[in-house]
Every structure is written in C-alpha cells, then in structure tokens.
C-alpha cells in the first residue's frame, strides 16, 4: 500500500514537472499570437471577400493594391509632404496648447483669485463641443494655417488645463508647508514642490491632450486644407480612391500610437519616484 502510493506520487511528480513546462511554452506562444488573431483573420477575410467578389475593389481594394499605393506615395514624395504638414501643425498646436494649459492650470491651482477669474470662463468654453468652434475659427482666422493650428491648440489646451489644475490641487499641503518652514521662497516651492507634485496630473493631461490633438488635426484637415494626411482622406474619398484613404488611416494609427508611446516613455522616466500598481514588486526583485 505504502509502496504503491509512493510510486504513484513519483509518477505524479514527473508528470507534473513535464506538463507545466509544456503548458508554459504553449502559454508563451499563445501570449504572442493572441493579439494577431483578429488582424490576421481580418486580412484573410478581406482577401477572400474581394477576390470572391462579395465586395467590389472600388469599395475595398486588395491589401496588395494598398501596399502599391503606399509605395507610390512614398516614391513620389507625396506622403512625406502630407505627413510633414500634419506633424508640423500638430506639433505647433500641441506645444501652444500644452504650454498655455500647464501655465494657466498652475496659476489657477495656486491662486484662488486667478482661479475665480479664469476658471468659470474656461468651464464655459469646455461646455461647447470643441469641433463646434470650427466655423467661428475659420471666420476669424480665415482658411489658413493659423486657424488650423489654433483649433488644435484649443483642443489640446482644455484637457491639459483641467488635469494640471486638478494636479496642483492634489499636492499634499503638508509638503508645501515644509517649503514654507525652511523658507525656500516662492519660486523654489513652485519648482521643487508644486510642479513635481502636480506632474502626474500634468502628464495625464498631456496624454489626453495628444489624442485630442490628433482628433483636431484630422478635423482641421478634413474641413479646410490642401495638405496633410486628413486632406489625403477627403481627397481619396472625392476621387474614389479607397486605397489612399486606407493608407492615410494606417498612417494615423501608426503615428498616433508612436507619439503616445513616446509620451509614455517620458512619463515613465519622470515618474520613477512613484510607486504604482504597475511598478510594485519590481523594486523588491532587483
């Protein structure tokens, strides 16, 4: 009885030591494979749908056609021109909106008086869905680069401002008190206590500002532009070139993802001091 039990236990042990390893290997493969399931499946479905005639090529061209369109656009320098236009107006608008958002958010967060002056107005501006400003911006600034950049700046400004304001408000008062007790002076308290304390909020604002910036650059280019990836979208639609539309869409996806990852890396570097759910446990291991 005893020996039987011992043997079965040993068998169980060897079985147990083999199975989890195999399981782990499969889990690893699955881990990398799973995210590709839907895109690859979609691609196959797409191919089948077009070649079998369910969908007409003028509505959805083959993936290979899109690849050719892409290389054509690259070779002729068209794509570089549109990308540059989009990225440039996004960058200028983003920086403009972010700088004003952080500055005004900090000021309003630190001074009750300033908050009383600016906050109700900004709340009012926010109450209007941002795209509804487009006609007014076009009337005021004309159909030009200025209107587009300012529209993007407005879209970026709002989330940056509100998150900065919330960030300053969330700074532990007891830390600010340390600054006062040790007579650090206003500028040093701002630089070493309030700004870093508000940083998590500011970065949240900058990130949602970025996604709104992309939204607004598309809006601006759809409505009034002759360059840019957004223009490529409208132009593709009006000339019945779905391949160009899809190239533009893919580029928006790639650039948006890339810029967000870039900001995420900045965030990670700046917030090292913080222990979050995501970073917990890493410290103990190292």
């Amino acid at each position: 009885m005893v020996s039987v039990r011992a043997v079965s236990r040993q068998q169980r042990l060897t079985a147990a030591s083999r199975t989890p390893r195999a399981q782990a290997r499969w889990q690893k493969v699955g881990h990398w494979l799973l995210p590709w399931l839907i895109p690859l499946g979609g691609l196959v479905l797409w191919w089948v749908a077009v070649t079998s005639g369910w969908i007409q090529p003028y509505q959805l061209p083959l993936p290979t056609t899109i690849l050719r369109t892409f290389t054509d656009l690259v070779i002729h320098g068209e794509l570089a021109r549109h990308m540059q236009a989009t990225l440039q107006r996004l960058a200028v608008g983003y920086i403009l909106g972010a700088v004003f958002g952080v500055a005004l958010g900090m000021l309003a967060g630190m001074s009750k008086t300033i908050r009383r002056v600016v906050d109700p107005t900004i709340q009012g501006v926010r109450a209007v869905p941002s795209l509804a400003w487009v006609p007014l911006f076009l009337l005021w600034f004309g159909i030009g680069e200025r209107a587009r950049v300012l529209l993007i700046a407005l879209g970026v400004f709002l989330p940056v401002y509100f998150n900065t304001l919330a960030g300053v408000g969330g700074v532990d008062w007891r830390l600010v008190e340390v600054g006062y007790v040790y007579r650090l002076g206003r500028w040093k308290i701002l630089r070493t206590i309030l700004l870093p304390g508000a940083l998590p909020g500011i970065l949240t604002g900058l990130r949602s500002g970025l996604s709104l910036g992309w939204m607004f650059v598309v809006a601006a280019e759809l409505l009034a532009a002759s360059t840019g990836l957004g223009f490529l979208l409208v132009e593709g639609q009006s000339t019945m070139r779905p391949d160009r539309v899809i190239v533009a869409l893919l580029l928006f996806a790639i650039l948006g993802r890339f810029s967000d990852a870039l900001l995420g890396a900045v965030e990670h570097a700046l917030l090292q001091w913080r222990e979050t759910v995501a970073t917990a446990g890493q410290e103990e291991g190292s």
């Binding site: 007891r174 830390l175 008190e177 340390v178 006062y180 007790v181 040790y182 650090l184 070493t192 206590i193 870093p196 304390g197 940083l199 090292q272 001091w273 913080r274 222990e275 410290e283």
Partner: protein, 273 residues
C-alpha cells in the same frame, strides 16, 4: 530675560475666533531642552507652530534671542513633523540638500551627505527614493534635513510617535546625542511622558481650554540618564498625575459645557499612550 533663546509673553492664539492658547508665557535658555506635554488636541502643536512662526499670536508677543550686533534676528528654526514629510520625487540626499545652506550645488550635496551620516543613515540609502525607506529611516532623514540648516532652535512635533518602540528609543538617544553635540535649543512636543522626562531639562504641561501653561517640571537629573533611574520614575509619576488631574478637570468642564453629550471615559492610559 535677555539672552533667552525665545520668550513667549502673554500669548493668545485663536483660529476663526476660537481661542486655542490663552495667556501663555514661556521662555527657554539657549541650548535648553524643553518638552511640552498635554492631552491630545490641547494646542501643543499650535505652540510649536507659534515658535516656528507658522501662526501669528492674536495677543502677546514672541521674541527670539537678541544679537546686539545684528539686532533682533529670527533664529534658524528647523522642524521635524510627526510624519517625515519627505518630497517623494527627490532622492533621499536631494531632500536634505534642498534646504542646505551651501552656496553651490556641490557644497549643498556635501552638507547633505554629512548630515545623513550624522543621523546614522546607511550610505546605500542616500540615493534611494523616500518610499523605499522604513518609517524610522525616513524620520532620520527628516532629522538630517533639520540638522543641515544648522538650527539654533529645533522644534520636534511628536517625531517618534509613528515608529516602533525600539526605533523610538534609538531615535531619542540620537536626538539627545545631537543636542549635546550642537547645543541648539530644543522644544519637543510629545504625548509620551517617559520620553519627556528622559530627554528634557524641563517639562511643560499644557492644560485648560483654551490651553495655558498648567505646570512646569524641572528635571534636575544629571546626564547621561538611565531610563531605569528611580528618580526618573518618581518625576514621571508627578508629571503623569498632574496630567491626569488636568484631564479630569477637562472632563468636568466638558460635562458642564455639554451635558447632553456622552462623557468620554478618560484616564492616563487612553490619553497618554
């Protein structure tokens, strides 16, 4: 008294019309170690904030040591709070260097390192983030941050109340050691009577509502003191019974003021521990 580290004369402090301290007079000789005890919420911290010039008296005056050459000068005041209050986004040494008096960044860094060494922080923790420190270690850094300013007046607001018992005893001896080495004036607010009589030259009992100086107990024991000295136990008993009495008076007052409210059971155990 001329030459006193500070002189508090008939000071009252009120918050939004509510008096917290009334007619408090207190002074300390330079280099004296004062402990302030009293029931929780009585106004001990307010007295400390008064000395840190974080609150202004509504009546009376607070004067600091008079330097004949310079005139009235605000003392170099440093404070250690109940919590370490380190800036979580600065490394340990940067927290100390932030308030260091040095002219160049390099000098401030050296001062910070020296202060951290003084409080016995292990060097491998110097460039850690504050969140990686234990409570006792973080409180040491807070102490180093106070020391790096070369204070003439060191204010301690229950600095050891949040650390474990053993760490507390060690930190007490550290403070004692630093005080003897640098000869600054110390005002320690505490709810721990043992701590007060072991460390201080005089123990000040705050009581009443609004609070005033109820009694002052000199602790005329030579140093180094032994925690098990019977004379210390005797003095502790005196301070405790005075504290207890002040609490009983409190309760009587509370009852008289609000007969509807339920009486909160009081005693040394609940108020002191």
């Amino acid at each position: 008294m001329p030459g006193a580290a500070f002189t508090v004369t008939h000071v009252s402090v009120a918050f939004q019309g509510q008096p917290v301290l009334q007619d408090v007079s207190l002074e300390a000789a330079p280099g004296e170690f004062l402990a302030v005890v009293g029931a929780s919420g009585i106004g001990k911290t307010t007295l400390l904030r008064l000395l840190a010039q974080m609150v202004a008296p509504s009546e009376g005056s607070v004067q600091f040591s008079h330097d004949a050459a310079v005139g009235a000068v605000a003392p170099q005041t440093a404070i250690v709070f109940q919590e370490p209050r380190l800036l979580p986004w600065l490394r340990v040494w940067q927290n100390v260097a932030l308030v260091a008096p040095g002219k160049t960044a390099d000098e401030r860094r050296r001062q910070a390192v020296a202060a951290l060494e003084t409080v016995g922080l292990p060097p491998e923790s110097f460039s850690a983030w504050p969140r990686q420190l234990s409570g006792g270690m973080a409180q040491r850094v807070a102490l180093a941050r106070a020391l790096v300013t070369a204070p003439s007046l060191l204010l301690l607001d229950e600095p050891f109340s949040a650390v474990d018992a053993l760490t507390r005893l060690r930190l007490q001896d550290y403070v004692l050691d630093l005080w003897q080495r640098y000869a600054f004036t110390v005002v320690l607010v505490t709810h721990d009577v043992d701590e007060a009589v072991y460390l201080a030259d005089r123990v000040v009992l705050l009581a009443g509502r609004p609070a005033g100086v109820h009694a002052v107990f000199p602790i005329p024991l030579p140093r180094p003191r032994s925690r098990s000295d019977p004379a210390l136990a005797l003095l502790r008993g005196q301070v405790l019974s005075a504290l207890d009495q002040s609490l009983v008076q409190h309760d009587a007052l509370d009852q008289a003021l609000s007969s509807r409210e339920e009486n909160v059971p009081s005693g040394i155990g609940s108020a002191v521990s």
